[in-house]
């Protein structure tokens, strides 16, 4: 037993590696999420009319909202496959702490899905005519807030394991929880726009991310145990 149960960090790294490997085999998911994000971004100029000033005002919020909407379809499948093929049962009954596995799930989801969106976000910002001085702050705020978003999404996807119509239910359950992230995330760039200090909003955003980093693995593990008990 001791040879398997080494240390939490090695368990964590092994599970992150596993998730990245299984997801890199098929890039369809990733391509469709980035494509969905691009389409959400395109809809706004079409709906608002191609007036640069209007786009400049909403660009920051549109990218954040687009990010939250774009990951919804993938969140629902975050734990679904592992739940259906029994992998989660195996993990829960093994001596490996489920909380560490859940943390690795959240982090690997962030690495696989959200890092590509963060990398492409400057392109979206330019498409929406954002000021160049705002773009670095957009990347900073999105990269710190998106970890919290993926951790909330992890808990949400654990909440709907085994539910009927979980895909429709999930956004209703987790979008209310994501509103603080959106408010402080958008606040960072709004502060830059009026030449104020962005650090207040940024630190609150980081604080929220740290809070979710601590509580989300425990809540998710609890919910997975409940789901397995079914």
């Amino acid at each position: 037993m001791n040879s398997v149960y080494t240390s939490w960090s090695s368990i964590f790294i092994a599970h992150v590696k596993r998730d990245i490997l299984t997801n890199s085999r098929s890039l369809i998911d990733l391509i469709s999420i980035v494509g969905f994000m691009i389409l959400i971004i395109i809809l706004f100029p079409l709906g608002l009319g191609p007036i640069q000033e209007k786009l400049n005002i909403v660009s920051n919020a549109v990218i954040w909202v687009g990010l939250i909407l774009a990951i919804m379809p993938s969140l629902e499948k975050l734990l679904q496959k592992d739940f259906e093929n029994g992998w989660l049962d195996q993990i829960a009954t093994s001596p490996i702490p489920l909380e560490v596995v859940m943390l690795s799930k959240g982090i690997s989801y962030w690495l696989i899905i959200l890092i590509p969106l963060i990398i492409t976000s400057p392109i979206f910002a330019i498409l929406l005519d954002m000021d160049l001085k705002n773009i670095p702050w957009l990347v900073i705020s999105i990269s710190s807030g998106s970890l919290a978003i993926s951790l909330i999404g992890l808990s949400g996807s654990a909440l709907i394991l085994g539910a009927r119509r979980g895909n429709i239910l999930l956004p209703i359950l987790i979008i209310p929880l994501m509103t603080p992230i959106l408010i402080f995330g958008v606040g960072v760039n709004e502060a830059i726009k009026i030449n104020a200090s962005p650090y207040g909003n940024l630190f609150l955003l980081l604080a929220l991310t740290l809070v979710y980093l601590v509580i989300s693995p425990f809540i998710s593990a609890l919910l997975v145990r409940i789901a397995i008990g079914r």
Binding site: S155, L159, I160, G162, A163, R164, R165, G166, L169, I172, L173, I175, P176, L177, T179, I219, L222, L223, I226, A227, R230
Partner: protein, 243 residues
């Protein structure tokens, strides 16, 4: 004490006695409260008659938050002690709380149009109340989303407990962000800053609404207990036919 109350039969016995008197008393409170608030209370010197909307708005807002707190507490009881009655109570509270929160938003926007000049502003108090409504909605939807009812009860209880974080935000939103919604004038450290003539109908309405929702919850729980009994009876009959 909770074990003693948690027995469904004892619960039924107590509530059978309590139920009719609760209905009568709560209706009396609401009738007197409505009389005082609509006819026998002064107009506001700025708001005129529109201030009377407050006598419905404030009690339903209080109850929406208070019912969420009780929903979360009974969810904790369900998750920790796994008592089925706690789940019945929380699932009976949820629709009533959702109705009160939507009533708060509707009366608030009816008042807001003449006073603020707009039906809706994205003020911190209003937004957090709307989010409270979505927590109620999420609870109800998640509770009914599973094949077996027990699964839904457990997941929904966890969601209800997570949602407690919204309650202090609602309470303190008017102090933290100075936006359009006015700060509290009743629950303050230095006593209420509202005139006694207005405080009387407001208190009557709050007590009346509270007792009436307690009555509704009791009726709901009793209906659900009967439903459960019916299900058990049907199961028994099916088993007999099989054997």
């Amino acid at each position: 004490m909770f074990d003693w109350l948690a027995n469904p039969n004892r619960f039924k016995k107590i509530t059978n006695k309590l139920e009719p008197s609760l209905l009568v008393i709560s209706l009396l409170f609401i009738i007197f409260g409505l009389y005082f608030s609509l006819f026998d209370s002064p107009k506001d010197y700025q708001q005129g008659d529109a201030v009377r909307i407050m006598y419905v708005h404030v009690p339903s807002a209080w109850l929406a938050s208070f019912l969420y707190l009780s929903l979360a507490i009974s969810s904790i009881f369900y998750l920790v002690w796994k008592h089925p009655l706690a789940d019945l109570i929380s699932s009976s509270i949820a629709p009533i709380g959702a109705l009160f929160s939507i009533l708060t938003l509707i009366t608030g926007s009816l008042w807001g149009k003449p006073m603020w000049g707009t039906w809706w502003v994205w003020d911190a108090r209003l937004t957090s109340m709307l989010i409270l409504f979505f927590f109620y909605l999420g609870f109800i939807l998640l509770h009914n989303a599973f094949e077996r009812k027990v699964d839904g009860s457990k997941s929904a209880s966890v969601l209800a407990i997570i949602g407690i974080i919204n309650l202090p935000i609602i309470k303190f939103s008017v102090d933290w962000w100075h936006t359009l919604h006015q700060p509290s004038s009743i629950l303050k450290f230095d006593g209420p800053s509202i005139d006694n003539q207005m405080l009387l109908p407001l208190t009557l309405m709050i007590i009346g609404f509270g007792l009436f929702s307690l009555y509704l919850i009791i009726v709901n729980v009793k209906t659900k207990l009967i439903e459960k009994k019916c299900e058990a009876l049907i199961l028994k009959l099916n088993l007999k036919e099989l054997s």
